[in-house]
Symmetry: C2
Subunit: 422 residues, 2 copies
């Protein structure tokens, strides 16, 4: 029999220590969002192939793991070249849109949803990129007001502060922008609506190529020099405490509903009163966020000193309606769970055991049934006192056994023979 | 665009109330086994197709969801009729054997493993049977002693008592037998080894057809009347407090290593001192358990008054070696997670909220930014005091909104206008 002991390419076996870290982080995530009134929901790993290939998933649609039809359906499918009737989900957004459409009448409104689940992408495996990985999305559906933005940003900042304070990281920056401000700025500079998407793709590279690089790239694409100058000058005005309404009033305000910058100011001032010291909120007109489905506020959180974001999202008021013909406003955050876990692991996160003692009773194989009974009685007593206890045979290579137990947090390890007193 | 709002056939969307129950049960499972020193581990949802079709999975192999090859591999595969390179796991046993082989050098010995994960079977959907469902397996690999059986049965009894006491169920029966005793009894009656499997299949129907039915079925198969008589007479001696060694000594003892019934007695007496009142341990010579891989002790737990088991398992000392050529003794329990959840739901399990208050602030859409700030300050304060708080817009249909919140456990619901005092 041929048996392959390695996992499927690009996928992981999680060892006990990996799982302790992952479960600990998941616990903090669940607990924090619960405090903000988010409900945990779940969808199946598989989705109808039609839903996955509906052009909502962008590049991810090329990476679908498709599930083969079965029985007579497969025979029929082979003739027509349609081999798959379903596939593994590549994100939690498409399933959420389907879920909301399917269960709308039974869900609270607004729905404040926390999803934690695996997604699968047949990506080229590389360091830190896996073919199965855990995503964590929080979304508010049915709330058109900025309360959704405020709750999402506040809860997520809180969650990150709780998790990372365990490894001494306490400084984060929340970048907030609005797709409508992005557009107003481009209009103010003199770009036409058809040019926006291309301009934003270039702007999005700011953190890599700098403001000068953005300018050069725009000029290289032969955009009018005047528009490029005016556009670049806008970004020269950015400073940490930039007030959105002041910035817009002084520049692109005429291309914008006054509510947009006013709401931005309210979001920032409201979130400010809910977050821990160390979390910096910043109106950031350079923030673009790639996905085309965003319609309003967009946001990203980065750890100060790390040059990538660990959470990002925004408002997408039109997507649910595109899926179900029943529109609903929506706003959401996607948390980089695997990235968080990787950072904690790199920083040598240590479990605190939740204050629980770990005791191991290693019993000699010649111990009598009466002794065994005594051991288990003792184990039961210690467990009832709140400690973790393992009872196992004393191995011949006790040194290795004991070392392994110590590595796993066991502080009290006792060898037990027939004449050992307990 | 064609978009299908229902989940894939036979799979479930979980609503917030479903998830609260599932997460609560999972929490108790994780917490209880942790106390007994079990480590949580995890394997990917997908396995190499070779591992899934190696004839270890019995009937389940017919139910595999196969994953289509991709790109050039698929083109090549189409020519050869090999379309799939992997599949979704149909149980957690095959992945555990692979995991242990793959990670052996980094794992403690014995490994006490808790696995919780989804499995997929393209079964005919029917009430209570799904195509994606959660399995929960606990296994001890590398412990040849009865300490493994004792820890497994004690921990599982404890876990079930904790979960079911919340709906008033406190009476369980743990049925314990040993494949070697089963065989000794058949030998004592006069059956030949080739007949054992068939005899056990008939015996396994005892709970449905009764002792008389078993007798009739055996006679109908033309087994010698004398053997059948002697076999049936054995089961006539069963009583609740049957002591295994006494039963074996008086009957099939000569076909059995004396250690087997002695160990059974020690297992039962040791577990007895670790479990709650209401859990009845029973040496049950009628227990068969279908899977062919069991080599020694077998066990099942049922709720008194329900005619099915909610957890079952046994010792399978030869399976790991068959997978990896590196033998290791193993013993495990599989918990009927979906069945447990269904029973709790049917009995109208109510969340206790973990003692947490739930407060909703419903804010009028005309409230000023200053009022909003006040609301979020108040929300932060209440959250810091340990309560769950949601802030959301006051809907036009406030009656329905409030009813939904009440149904979800919100006891304090406050409508907030610009002039409301907080």
């Amino acid at each position: 029999m041929k048996f392959i002991t390695t996992p499927v390419k690009g996928m992981n076996d999680f060892l006990p220590a990996d799982m302790r870290l992952r479960e600990h982080v998941l616990g903090l995530i669940k607990e924090t969002y619960a405090t903000y009134g988010f409900d945990h929901i779940e969808t199946p790993a598989m989705e109808h192939i039609e839903n996955l290939t509906g052009k909502q998933g962008g590049e991810n649609e090329k990476l679908i793991f498709k599930v083969l039809k079965r029985g007579r359906e497969l025979e029929k499918g082979l003739e027509r070249g349609e081999l798959a009737d379903s596939g593994l989900r590549y994100d939690l957004t498409v399933p959420l849109a389907r879920y909301y459409s399917n269960n709308r009448n039974e869900l609270p409104t607004p729905l404040k949803a926390l999803q934690i689940g695996n997604v699968w992408r047949a990506d080229k495996p590389q360091k830190g990129r896996f073919r199965q990985f855990t995503q964590c999305d929080i979304d508010i559906i049915g709330d058109p007001s900025i309360m959704a933005e405020i709750e999402l940003i506040a809860a997520t900042s809180k969650m990150l502060t709780r998790i990372f304070s365990e490894v001494g990281i306490r400084e984060f920056t929340v970048h907030i922008n609005d797709r409508r401000i992005l557009k107003a700025m481009a209009a103010y500079a003199g770009f036409t609506p058809e040019q926006y998407d291309d301009v934003f793709i270039i702007l999005d590279k700011m953190d890599k190529i700098g403001l000068e690089g953005v300018k050069e790239s725009l000029l290289k694409k032969e955009y009018p020099a005047e528009a490029v100058e005016k556009y670049i000058a806008l970004f020269g005005q950015i400073k940490p405490e930039l007030v959105c309404s002041e910035f817009c009033n002084a520049t692109c305000g005429e291309y914008l509903d006054q509510k947009v910058p006013d709401n931005m100011d309210t979001i920032i001032s409201s979130v400010s009163c809910m977050i821990n010291e160390g979390v910096h909120l910043m109106f950031d007109p350079t923030l673009v966020r790639g996905m085309s489905y965003y319609t309003g506020t967009i946001f990203e959180i980065s750890i100060d000193g790390y040059n990538f974001s660990i959470a990002g999202g925004g408002r997408y008021d039109e997507m649910i309606g595109r899926f179900s013909n029943q529109p609903a406003p929506a706003c959401g955050f996607s948390i980089g769970f695997e990235r968080i876990v990787t950072i904690l692991k790199d920083l040598d996160w240590k479990e605190e055991n939740g204050g629980k003692e770990r005791t191991a009773f290693l019993v000699d194989e010649k111990a009598s049934p009466a002794k065994l009974l005594e051991v288990f009685k003792k184990a039961t007593k210690v467990r009832e006192e709140g400690a973790i206890v393992t009872v196992q045979p004393l191995k011949k290579n006790a040194k290795f056994q004991i070392e392994t137990l110590e590595k796993n947090g066991y502080t009290s390890i006792k060898k037990i023979y027939d004449d050992t007193e307990l």
